[in-house]
Amino acid sequence: MDFIPKILAYVCTYCTYTAADMAGSARMQYPDSVRIVKYLCTGRIDLLHILKAFEAGADGLLVGG
């Protein structure tokens, strides 16, 4: 069985999330193993948030902001 990594995406609501929205309206797809967490600003991301993601079982993390 192929390994499908669980990716958590920490995204900024103003840029990356908007981009994801646009991509969606253009019917572009992304795998369902990616979960999005919306930040008001990715400047809020703390080292602890990243560690918690891995603790919760994420295999990888994408920060977009």
Binding site: L47, L48, L51, K52, F54, E55
Partner: protein, 226 residues
Amino acid sequence: MIIAERKPFKEIAAAVAPYDKILIVGCGTCVAVCLAGGEKEVGLLASQLKLAAGLKHRRIEVGEITVERQCDLEFLEPLCDFVADFDAIISMACGAGVQFLAHMCHFKPIFPAVDTTFIGVNNAVGYYTERCRACRRCYLGLTGGICPVTMCPKGLLNGPCGGTLNGKCEVDLQKDCAWSKIYQRLELEGRLDNLKEIVPLHPHSRGTTPGTVIHPAYRRRYGVDE
């Protein structure tokens, strides 16, 4: 304040390896300011420990709590019941806090998560420098507010050694020679006469460890020595 540095993760992990239920106790005062053992660092360490255990297919329980000051009985006492549920304690306080916590919580193995470094100042977030050796005989009035015991690696009381080079210290040429600074300062203040008298040998007996200070008011009220 007290400055400390967090120990390498490997060292902490090795110390608590035998235990499945670990309580990490942070301290909200000095070590929080110097980013070594406050609430934030407790969270990071807890997460690190859980992840490291997970990689070894172990599940451990890590409790997190931060008290205002571990060196203060008032803040530490309420913790005692809380500790009962855990197999071991990691204290992120300075050496004083670790010992006080150990004293309060009998029969629980306790491990320090920081190396206590010195009494110093917070120049900027992340930049701390030593200022005081707690020598129990303060010379600062004589030396223009610059401590010869701390700021001179040799703790010389009567002037610079022969190694000072262009006002820098022989031990570390990046650092100022304490005695050059003391001289400059006293010269500016017109107090160079302070340096005429020979300072006698330092009374080390005062610094015999472990020290005790009893406030006169405490003594009056309780009439005891400890």
